[in-house]
């Protein structure tokens, strides 16, 4: 009789334990999100109180920005307005240095058909060019060579080169406009500070626009077990 009672007692304990386990698991399952939220308050309330204390000054500034939405600008780096080119040798007077495009091109007729530097017999001969089937004057302005040429023939300054690129590379331009193309620095939150973005030509050489190859310089060495075994062998 006592044996029976003992078995009964043990069975009841087992049932109670398993019911608690199951019910706890059940509680957790449907309210997985809520339970996390629900259990967080004791964890988060002190956080918030501290954060409000700590961030009162920040609150003030952010309030100011919401009431008066002054956002810092996105600064896109710009190339020089008038680019110069290094002279390859020295002139008869023995001078070397940099000259503007118009220094030479204003006195020379433009050959609209030139597509590669191989066709040239003087100047620009070392220039690498690998940008589709474009001719030089597809992008450079034949008359007024200190500016670039849009597809409709109108001139655009070198500092606005992105307008030129965007004519063909509109998907990249769209991505760029939404921060999904091109590197950036500064602030993600422009209520707190400005953001600086690269220009197309910061990363892409317009004549060879493919992004250059790089060499990996930094590697983690956390697989120290392998290293250890090597050192044992020595």
């Amino acid at each position: 009789m006592t044996r029976l009672a003992n078995i009964l007692f043990a069975a009841i304990i087992a049932v109670v334990v398993s019911v608690t386990v199951v019910s706890l698991a059940k509680i957790r399952q449907p309210e997985r999100l809520q339970s996390k939220r629900a259990e967080s308050p004791p964890l988060r309330e002190p956080l918030q109180s501290v954060s409000t204390q700590a961030a009162t000054t920040e609150q003030a500034t952010s309030k100011q920005t919401t009431s008066n939405p002054t956002t810092f600008p996105i600064i896109v780096r710009q190339p020089l307005e008038t680019p110069t080119i290094n002279l390859a040798g020295v002139d008869p007077q023995g001078r070397s240095g940099q000259v503007a495009c118009s220094t030479c091109h204003s006195v020379r007729p433009a050959n609209m058909a030139t597509k590669t530097t191989r066709e040239l017999n003087e100047f620009h001969q070392g220039l690498q060019f690998n940008h589709g089937q474009l001719s030089c004057y597809a992008c450079h302005q034949p008359n007024g060579s200190d500016s670039l040429r849009l597809a409709d023939g109108s001139a655009v300054g070198y500092q606005d080169v992105m307008r030129l690129c965007s004519q063909c590379h509109s998907p990249q331009a769209t991505s760029f406009a939404h921060g999904a193309h091109g590197g950036m620095n500064g602030f993600w939150d422009r209520t707190r500070g400005p953001q600086t973005k690269n220009n197309c030509v910061d990363c892409h050489d317009p004549h060879v626009p493919a992004y250059p190859k790089m060499v990996v310089g930094f590697k983690p060495r956390d697989r120290f077990l392998d290293v250890k075994e090597e050192s044992h062998d020595q």
Partner: protein, 426 residues
């Protein structure tokens, strides 16, 4: 317990007599032959070596181990997993003893419980040496720390392991104490706990399996079969360990039981080992027939991959040992007190130790979640610490067994006067 003392007015308060019993028990348990003292000294020495290695590990950082960010658990957690199985298996004998009313088993049960206590202590130590900040252990204490219950499976494990330790301490303590007082134990005070410990034994191993199999990022562990496999192997390693301990006790002449219980244990091992192997086969089939990400760890484990094969010898020797052990257990001579039985027990113990440790915990991390293959083999410090933990476990077990033997030998079991001492083969 107050009801007992109330019914027995000439008795001293248990608050005084129980500590007295413990003190006298400890005193008598440390009495013995020269060989006994040599054995105890050896165990103490190994424990101290382990303690020293651990102290160095704490002082100089876990860099002293060979674990990495890729293989972040190693020998310690492997050993923990095995010891949980041992602890659970130790109590499995309770089932035939009480569920089927097998009176012969009662004498074995208390040994199983003692093994369980030692194994749980080893589990706890294995976890303590694995954590990077043992000085912050108090963060886990409910109330003063922050105990992430019930979300974290590790908190469940802490609860069930400590609960299991307390239950077994109570059962062993109560049974011995009653014998010491010369009274028949009152079933009300231990039988419910014995049954509780059966469920609890299953729970400790299930929860430990849930530690691993709940992790979606580790496909090798993420199998529903893990908990049943753990239980099946516990039903093997526990009884096998008990058989070995019983053999040692009989040979040293400390304590002897009938051959009957041993046969029951062999029957349990036979069934459990077959089930264990069946589940292993089922696991292997699922992994390799399906292929894909789930199989990459298994591929590394069984055949090596991308030129790395550090675990391959471990795993195949485990499978070989398990198969040999199983075959030996099925020999008729395993039913006798033969050498075959001892060899079989050693085979399956070592086989399961590898299977649960180097064959389960470590390959869960190889390849890593980013499929890096970083191999792991324990450092000397890790081996020392684990040896220390085992030595300490054996130290505890020896003292407890000595105590059990003393109490039982000093006072013959009332209902059973034909206690075999040496016993014939049968």
């Amino acid at each position: 317990m107050s009801s007992i003392s109330a019914s027995d007015p000439d008795q001293e308060s248990h608050f005084i007599s129980y500590p007295t019993f413990l003190g006298r028990a400890l005193w008598s348990a440390t009495e013995g032959s020269l060989a006994f003292y040599a054995w105890m000294t050896l165990l103490t020495a190994i424990s101290l070596v382990g303690a020293n290695a651990w102290a160095h590990q704490v002082a100089e950082g876990m860099i002293q181990t060979n674990m990495t960010d890729q293989v972040s658990w190693g020998l310690y957690i492997s050993n923990f997993t095995f010891c949980v199985g041992l602890a659970a298996g130790g109590v499995m004998m309770v089932i035939p003893a009480y569920l089927y009313d097998d009176h012969q088993m009662h004498k074995v049960v208390i040994i199983g419980e003692a093994i369980a206590i030692a194994a749980i202590v080893m589990c706890t130590l294995s976890v303590v040496v694995d954590i990077g900040r043992p000085d912050r252990f108090w963060h886990m204490i409910p109330g003063i720390g922050k105990f992430n219950w019930p979300i974290s499976m590790l908190t469940w494990d802490i609860i069930v392991l400590n609960g299991y330790l307390l239950i077994n301490l109570h059962i062993v303590g109560y049974l011995l104490y009653m014998r010491y007082l010369g009274r028949t134990p009152n079933p009300v005070w231990y039988v419910p706990f014995v049954f509780l410990s059966i469920f609890w034994a299953i729970s400790i191993h299930t929860v430990t399996a849930f530690l691993y199999c709940g992790l979606g990022g580790r496909p090798f562990w993420n199998t529903a079969l893990l908990a049943p496999r753990f239980l099946a192997s516990a039903f093997v390693s526990g009884p096998a360990f008990i058989l070995l301990v019983m053999r040692i006790l009989r040979v040293t002449g400390c304590y002897a039981a009938d051959p009957g219980p041993a046969r029951t244990l062999i029957q349990i091992i036979r069934v459990a080992m077959v089930v264990n192997l069946l589940m292993l086969v089922s696991e292997i089939f699922t992994l390799f027939y399906t292929g894909g990400a789930h199989a990459s760890s298994a591929h590394y484990l069984f055949f090596g991959s991308h030129g790395h094969d550090g675990l391959v010898p471990w795993m195949w020797s485990s499978i070989a040992l398990n198969l040999i052990g199983t075959a030996l257990f099925f020999l008729p001579s395993a039913m006798d007190r033969s050498l075959v039985r001892v060899v079989a027990c050693v085979c399956v113990l070592v086989g399961i130790w590898i299977e649960k440790g180097m064959g389960l915990i470590v390959p869960g991390f190889i390849p890593s979640t980013l499929h890096e293959i970083v191999e792991y083999s324990p450092s000397l410090i890790e081996w020392k610490v684990v040896a220390g933990i085992w030595a300490f476990g054996f130290l505890l077990l020896t003292i407890m067994l000595k105590l059990i033997a003393n109490v039982f030998n000093a006072q013959p079991v009332p209902e059973r006067t034909t206690v075999a001492t040496g016993g014939g083969r049968g």
